[in-house]
Structure formats: structure tokens, C-alpha cells
Subunit: 268 residues, 3 copies
């Protein structure tokens, strides 16, 4: 029987053009040549904790129980910010303690976080600028082999967390949210969910207007393909958020707005 | 002995910047933690069925017999377009029924296509906008474990197929084709093959002129490196098509044309 | 017990948008369905031997002993340049004989290089333009299964090597180097190491000025995060080189220079 193994996923902002991810994988395989490593995405926006948190949040729960999710978006690398190992629900998470796990903490019930201090698992010497390679990768390698989490450090409770931006009621039946992501297709993904505005997502919603940039959107559709040529409209996307989209085209190009743009929704 | 397994390849337009592929892989591994998943490319041009078909057609036949090739370029996601499972030659193909398998149908002899209707294999609830995750990935997971193809639905014969654009005779010894792809190097890959114009690809071809944009090309060479500095010339590329290229540079930048551009060839 | 296997890494300039890497992996798996293939990076700058050499040099030594590193940056594909198999230190390297292994030769002691001539391992017919698929991939497949290196051809000693650009003393306490790489974060990675200018990297360095483009840099810091907002400064990066960086931003955008730019360092 094969020994106990944990699958390892990677979510980082290291990109795929340089050696960074290749070096991290080498370190993991050197510790555990039988490791099973999967990229969630290594193209998180540079330094962007919320973008990293969203990417991980949209993928981690589909993995087999006991998967180790490694997320390295780490603008504070080399400073006093701690490396942490979190056990949340069915999964383990390895990350810098900078809030990048906030959406995991928000969603999971039983959260236990350890400050990783067991330096004998680290690569030596430790650089000041690439802990993905020198700390997170070797620790991931040992964890993938089934080493117990308590071997890596003590439980802490003062770990860093932030709250993702939520839509707000901004007047009579007027909600304001933002575009939190623009995907490869040019879909504008907002932070507005059916929980925030249940009426909007009913089979027969009231009349509404969505304001983004200079565009005014009045149609909600079930699928991308239902849109007329050139029409910009709204859908409930697969991330669970309201999306501003266009059929076989880029809503971003059509409207000319991007990440961070304000989205107003007025119900009649 | 390990149980029967099928390798799984992915060809999609989901990109690598978001969580999309990471979520699909999670779903596959959750069904089959021992799955062997390989990316052919997840950077197919958005919504571009021909680009997806070409990418798959240039890679699938190199894989071991019994590989399951999953291709998701799916602008009609959520509509009545069917998910299908095709058995063609030595391989299985999982795709939306929108013609993206046309080049496979064109090339393979024994083609059997099933409409996938066995919803108990799907992820629930099924979103309207991401069947890659909710339908194709879980079905791929089960197929990778060796589940029989007939378990997924009935054979159909009215599956969708299109004909890839072919070069045409457009006058006295004048052929017209198009640029079907520009690759990472800036090579302009046309749809012209030795089958279309055998004379052009002989060791000692007749004099010819190739017209692309404002450029006039009169040289055919065997390799990229035989080109003089700055010279734009033609080669028979590894895809089996005539390519317009330049040595250690980008023909696209040199000529200023792109995908879809007309290519005229005049034999003297 | 599993038979002897070598892990395979890929470093190429083929990009991830086309089928190139997908085809190469298919060929490797077809020879050895149990192969373990890892991408170091397939986004090396097109035709850029030094960029390929640097990418490989920064990753290969982290892999388990006996890993086969395949590097294909091959502007001379199809010409008389030889395919080679190098055994260097703990690793095997498969590459075109164009100098792309120069940094490996520079670093490793016991280097043995073979000219690969055993055509029965190649894919037939061999194209003139894609030896990654037709020569390097099948040879990698067979090597991954543990085939002996001497089966592939005779030892040669006249293999091609180049010297990476080194910084030079250019006047009284004035050194001149270049930017050899700009990474995804916009960090400007120079070719200057602590070996070249030990004084600069001491805990308490003498006053200095670094000239890049129109910028004048006077601060060395230990981590990215120590920089003041908007400040451009220097760090000793994880590649072992002096880097010009900015905290949570792109030094490339701030300064407006790129790869190949001259970097002057004046010690007071």
C-alpha cells in the first residue's frame, strides 16, 4: 500500500515566465518525489491578496479531502509576517499570514492556525525574497508525505484576516458594489450575490438598472449565449456573483471599465 | 495491479489567470484522486471553435491509446447544445456538441458519438455558465476510472460538424488561402498543405509569389535558420501547413498581418 | 517495485497558447505512460538562449537526483546543430547543442556530453521545424524509462558553450553590468553578484550610486517590503543577483528601462 499522501495545489502570483514555480516544484519533489502537485493558478495579480483569496476560494473546495492548498501572494516576504499552516474543514492551507486565507476563514467552521517555526524543515540558507522556494515549498513537501501538522509550530489565534468588500445599500433601492475581477473572456465579475439582492435573481425579477462606467444595463439572462449581438447584460455567474457580460465578446472592451470599478444597481 | 485508467488531456479557452482550470482539475481529482491530467492548452482564443479544433488536432494523436481528450470551447454553455462523448480511432473525446471535434471527425474513420445524459455523474447544482466544471470535469473523472462509455448516454448521428476553411483555386495558377493561426513566435500558419499545391513543396519548386498583406514572398526554405536576416520566407511547418516566417523574428510584426488574413499564391 | 524512472522537466520557448507543449508531452507519455513531467517554464523569450539558460540554471538544482532536464530553445532547428545529452553532476540534460547549457557547464564539475545519433528512438518522419516533438520528446520518454545514456550516441568534447555577460570594472570604483531579466513583478534583475562587488553586499555597505536609465539609486534594502511607497531601491535577490525593485510595484514601469539596459554602479 502506498504511504499516506496529501495532494498539493499551488496558487501564487509568481507567473509562469520565470523559474519561480519550477524552482518551488523542484523543492517539493526533492522532499517527496511521489508528490502530486496541481496548479490552481500562478497568475494571480502581483501582490494582490484579494485576487489570490478569490482564486483559491473558487477552487479549493472541489479537491479531494485532505488536499494541501499552498497559496503564496507575499508582498511582505522577508519581514516579520509569519508563515502559517491552517487546518480548515477538510483541507490544509499553507500561506503567509497576511490575510490571503480570509475567504477560507469566512467560509469554514473549524479553523485551526499554526505559526510555522520548525526551521529544520526549511531550505538553508533562507533568502529574504523568495520564501515560496525556501519555506513554503519544503514544508509543503513534508506535509505531502503526511507529516503531522503539530510538528510545524504552535497554534495561534491572532492570525491576520480582512473582510472582502461587500455591496452596500446606498439609497432608496440603490445598491453599490464593485467589479472584483475581470476574467479572460472580459466578463466583469462583481461582488454582488443573490444573498445581497434576492429579488434580482428570482425567475421574474422587478425592473432594474445596473450602472457601470457609462453603461446602463437592464437585462438579466440565464446564459451568455442568450444575449443579442453586441448587447451587454447581466448573468448570475458560476462564482456565485452577478457578472456583466456580452455574448461571444468582452464586456470589459465594450464598456471600457475594469477591476475596482463601481457598480450601481437600482431596483424600480 | 493498478485498475484500468485513462489519461485525461485538457484543451480549453478558460485561460490560466483565473480559477477555472484549477476548479475543473479539483473536480476530476475528487472523483479519481489517481487521475493523470495533462494540459494541451488552456489558452485557446476565447469562443474560437476553429482555434480549439486546430489545437486539439495537432496534439491528440501523439497520446497513448485510450487517452480521454477533453475540449471545452463552449460559447453556447447553458443552452440546448448537447454535451457529447465521441469514440474515434484509439481515443475518447469529451466536448460540447458545437463542431469543436470537426477535425477529429474529418481525420478518424470509426466515429461513434453519444449524447451525455446521465445526470447522476454531474456536479449538482449545475450552473448555467460553467459546464467545464459541472458536467465535463466529473464525467472526465468517471471516464478516467474506466467507466464504460455506454453508461453516459445514447448514440447520436446528428452531431454538429463544420468544415475548416480550405484554400481555393481563384484564377490561373492562383490559389487563395488564409492565415489560420499566428503562433508565439509570430509565424503565420496558413491553411495551405502539400495536398492542395503539390508543386510548391517539391525539392525544386517552380517560381512563385506569395501575397500576404503588402508583402510578396518568393522563397521557400527547409528550416527557419536558413533565412537571411530580416527576410520573410515560407516553410512547410510541423503542423503540415505552409508557414510564412522569418529567422529569429516575428513574421507577424514584419508584415503586420494576423489571423484571418488572406494569403494568395501565384505559381509562374 | 516500480521500475527505475527519471523525472522529466521542460524548459522551452514554445509558449502555452499553441499545441507545441501538448504534442511534446503526448510523445513522452506515449513512450512512457508512467512518466512524471514537470514544466519549469515554457515561456522563455523566443529564440533567447541566455534567457533559457538562466531559467534552467535557477531551477534545475532543486530537483531530485537523476532528474532529466529537457531544454528546447532551438532557433537552429533542422540545421546541422546537434541534439545532445549531457550528464552533469546529479542530473541529465537534453538540449540542442547551441550553448543553452552553458550555465550548467559553468557550474557543474563532471560534465559528459553525447551527440544523440540513435535515430531509432526518434519520431518518424522527422520534421525540419519541430525537433522538440520529433527528437527531444521521444528521447526524453526513453530516458525517463531508464534507458542507458550510452545507447544514444558517442561522447563529444567540442560542444558549444558561451559565456554569460559579466559585469566589468569601467573606471575608478565604477562597475558596469546589465539587466539580464525583468520578471513578472517588474523587478530588474542584473548580472551583478556579491562575488563581483563584495563591499556592496556587506551589512554596512559604503555609499554608492546605481545608474539605470535616468534613475539614480542609493539605497540597498534586505526585503521588498522595506521600501518606502514609490521608492526604487536595490536588493540582493533570490537568484543571487542584484535587483532593482520597488515595494508592491514595478521598477520596470517606474524607471522605464528593460532587458539589456546598462547598469552602472559607483562606489564612493
Amino acid at each position: 500500500m502506498a504511504p499516506f499522501q496529501r495532494m498539493v495545489t499551488l496558487t501564487t502570483d509568481f507567473g509562469i515566465t520565470e523559474h519561480y514555480i519550477g524552482a518551488m516544484k523542484g523543492v517539493i519533489y526533492n522532499v517527496n518525489p511521489a508528490a502530486q502537485i496541481v496548479d490552481i493558478s500562478n497568475s494571480v495579480h502581483s501582490y494582490d491578496l484579494l485576487d489570490g483569496a478569490l482564486t483559491l476560494a473558487q477552487a479549493y473546495s472541489y479537491y479531494p479531502p485532505n488536499t494541501l492548498h499552498v497559496i503564496v501572494v507575499d508582498p511582505g516576504v522577508g519581514t516579520a509576517r509569519r508563515p502559517i499552516l491552517a487546518t480548515c474543514g477538510k483541507y490544509l492551507f499553507l500561506a503567509p499570514d497576511n490575510g490571503v486565507l480570509s475567504l477560507v476563514y469566512e467560509r469554514e467552521e473549524a479553523v485551526s492556525v499554526r505559526h510555522i517555526t520548525s526551521q529544520h524543515y526549511f531550505l538553508q540558507p533562507i533568502s529574504n525574497t523568495f520564501h515560496g522556494r525556501d519555506i513554503f515549498a519544503p514544508v509543503a513537501g513534508w506535509l505531502s508525505k503526511g507529516v503531522d501538522t503539530e510538528k510545524f509550530g504552535e497554534v495561534i489565534t491572532d492570525f491576520v484576516r480582512f473582510t472582502a468588500p461587500k455591496p452596500k445599500l446606498a439609497g432608496d433601492n440603490l445598491f453599490k458594489g464593485i467589479v472584483i475581477k475581470v476574467d479572460k473572456f472580459g466578463n466583469l465579475i462583481t461582488n454582488i450575490t443573490p444573498h445581497d439582492m434576492p429579488q434580482l435573481f428570482t425567475p421574474d425579477p422587478p425592473a432594474f438598472k445596473i450602472f457601470v462606467g457609462k453603461a446602463e444595463i437592464t437585462k438579466m439572462r440565464a446564459t451568455y449565449a442568450e444575449g443579442a449581438p453586441g448587447e451587454v447584460f447581466a448573468v448570475l455567474g458560476s462564482m456565485g456573483f452577478l457578472e456583466i457580460v456580452t455574448n461571444r465578446g468582452s464586456a470589459q472592451s465594450s464598456i471600457g471599465v475594469g477591476k475596482g470599478s463601481e457598480v450601481g444597481i437600482k431596483l424600480e
